[in-house]
């Protein structure tokens, strides 16, 4: 739990942008609808934080801890989440367009209807993640682990699944046209 009082958080969020919050402990804090676009949140702890509808566009969240955070409808387009931990986070309808999520941990993350168009998820761990109805159009999932992940109705057109682990993944009614298979071939 963060040591900052709600007033201190309010003060922090009203400082000139972009915010420099690298390594900050903001766990379990209430940041619903906060404007954190372009913020430097490297290695910050946002565990269990409420970031519903928050703007994190272009933010740097490299190595950040976002476990169990609520990121419903948050805007994370072009955000950098390399090596971040997003296990069990709620990211329903979140916008992660062109985001960088290489080596990120997304175990059991709920990404239902999320927008991951053109996102880089190289070697990301998406074990048991819910990607139902999400858009992964032209996303890069090279070497990603999608073990037992739900990809029901997911748009994977033109996505790169090269060397991805799809064991036990539910691809029912997923759109795979033009996507690259784990063996380098292309889905017709």
């Amino acid at each position: 739990m963060t040591d900052l009082t709600p007033w201190q958080i309010y003060d922090l969020l009203n400082r000139p942008k972009p915010l420099w919050l690298s390594g900050c402990d903001l766990s379990r804090s209430y940041l619903k609808g906060a404007d954190l676009s372009g913020a430097d949140l490297r290695e910050a702890s946002l565990e269990g934080a409420n970031l519903e509808g928050a703007s994190l566009e272009g933010a740097n969240l490299e190595g950040a801890n976002l476990q169990g955070a609520n990121l419903t409808q948050a805007n994370l387009s072009e955000a950098r989440l390399v090596g971040a931990s997003l296990n069990q986070a709620i990211m329903v309808r979140a916008n992660l367009r062109e985001g960088l999520l290489n080596n990120a941990s997304l175990l059991q993350t709920n990404l239902y209807e999320a927008n991951l168009r053109g996102a880089h998820l190289v070697s990301a761990d998406l074990t048991e993640a819910n990607l139902g109805e999400a858009s992964l159009l032209r996303a890069i999932l090279k070497g990603a682990c999608l073990h037992n992940a739900s990809l029901k109705g997911t748009n994977l057109s033109g996505a790169t699944l090269f060397e991805a682990d799809l064991e036990g993944a539910d691809l029912a009614s997923a759109h795979l046209r033009g996507a690259m298979k784990p063996n380098g071939d292309i889905y017709e």
Binding site: G58, E98, L100, K142, G158, T160, F162, G178, K181
Partner: protein, 298 residues
């Protein structure tokens, strides 16, 4: 890696159709100053169509094209050249029997005036050609020697130096190492690295992952007219690149074919060996019979 500076070339969701044939479909690439961006793909992947689109030869059927953040619509390669986008094609557009200096200034010859007469300024051309090539690390003995006397790698370098001298800020190199030996390819790769260090954006088209990996900063994989992502060096190893470009089914089919060849060669060899053995045995038998009959007769 997400770069915040404006790319020199940025194409988004480019598509190109030739009648019912889709040559390119939703390809997006960008290149920044001082960067080597490699475009990889096997034959028929759409590399040539993409560079022709970038250099103004083809108009894209769909998509957006930005140069220095400004949307453009090129009608001809000259438009692209005016924006500093130069393309060096495989054939290099050089005349082997002309001198290095003449080739260097081909189409933009410096002239010297003598009253109403104009003539090619040989001294200036020689001086500039020598200097510009020296900047690329090539020390030519005589700029008046025919281009045909240069090696393939050196010729490529003359073409690159020429493009840079005439104001190229973006260099599109169409398979510059394709027909070269190992050493000469190395020479060209060195010049590409030099061009990058001079702040030039380079789009290096190749189907050789080894050459691409030696100089590339980012790699775009093209397959069947579609892009399968742009990768940084830490996102894609050279071995992965090879596997990604070829595809398992194609490699399996190829290895199966090669195994079949090897097997039929083995069978052929066995057959030949048994035939030889058989013939040898027959001739031995014949000679034994001959000796035996001679012995009987004597």
């Amino acid at each position: 890696m997400i770069r915040k500076d404006v790319p020199m070339i940025d194409v988004r969701n480019i598509a190109k159709y030739f009648g019912s044939v889709t040559a390119l479909n939703g390809v997006s690439i960008n290149v920044h100053a001082g960067e080597v961006m490699c475009l990889l793909g096997d034959n028929g992947a759409g590399k040539s169509t993409l560079i022709k689109t970038l250099s103004g030869v083809h108009k894209p059927s769909k998509g957006e094209y930005f140069v220095d953040g400004e949307q453009v619509d090129f009608d001809s390669p000259r438009d692209a050249l005016e924006r500093g986008i130069a393309t060096v094609y495989q054939d290099l557009a050089m005349i082997p029997l002309m001198s290095i200096a003449r080739n260097f200034f081909l189409g933009s010859e410096p002239v010297k005036r003598l009253g109403p007469f104009k003539r090619f300024d040989v001294a200036f051309a020689d001086k500039v050609a020598r200097e510009e090539l020296k900047k690329m690390g090539i020390d030519i003995r005589d700029p008046s020697q025919p281009v045909g006397t240069l090696s393939g790698g050196e010729r490529q370098s003359v073409a690159i130096a020429r493009a840079v001298y005439f104001g190229a800020r973006v260099l599109i190199l169409d398979e510059p190492t394709a027909a070269l030996g190992v050493k000469q390819a190395g020479v060209v790769l060195r010049y590409i690295a030099q061009a990058r260090s001079r702040g030039i954006a380079v789009i290096f088209i190749t189907h050789n992952p080894h050459h691409a990996y030696a100089v590339g900063d980012r790699f775009t994989i093209l397959k069947r007219g579609q892009s399968f992502g742009t990768f940084t060096r830490d996102e894609l190893s050279r071995e992965e690149m090879v596997r990604m470009m070829s595809g398992a089914d194609e490699l399996d089919a190829l290895s199966h074919e090669l195994e079949e060849f090897a097997r039929s060669d083995e069978l052929q060899a066995d057959r030949t060996l048994s035939q030889v053995e058989h013939q040898l045995a027959e001739s031995l038998e014949e000679s034994e019979e001959m000796f035996a009959s001679r012995g009987d007769g004597s």
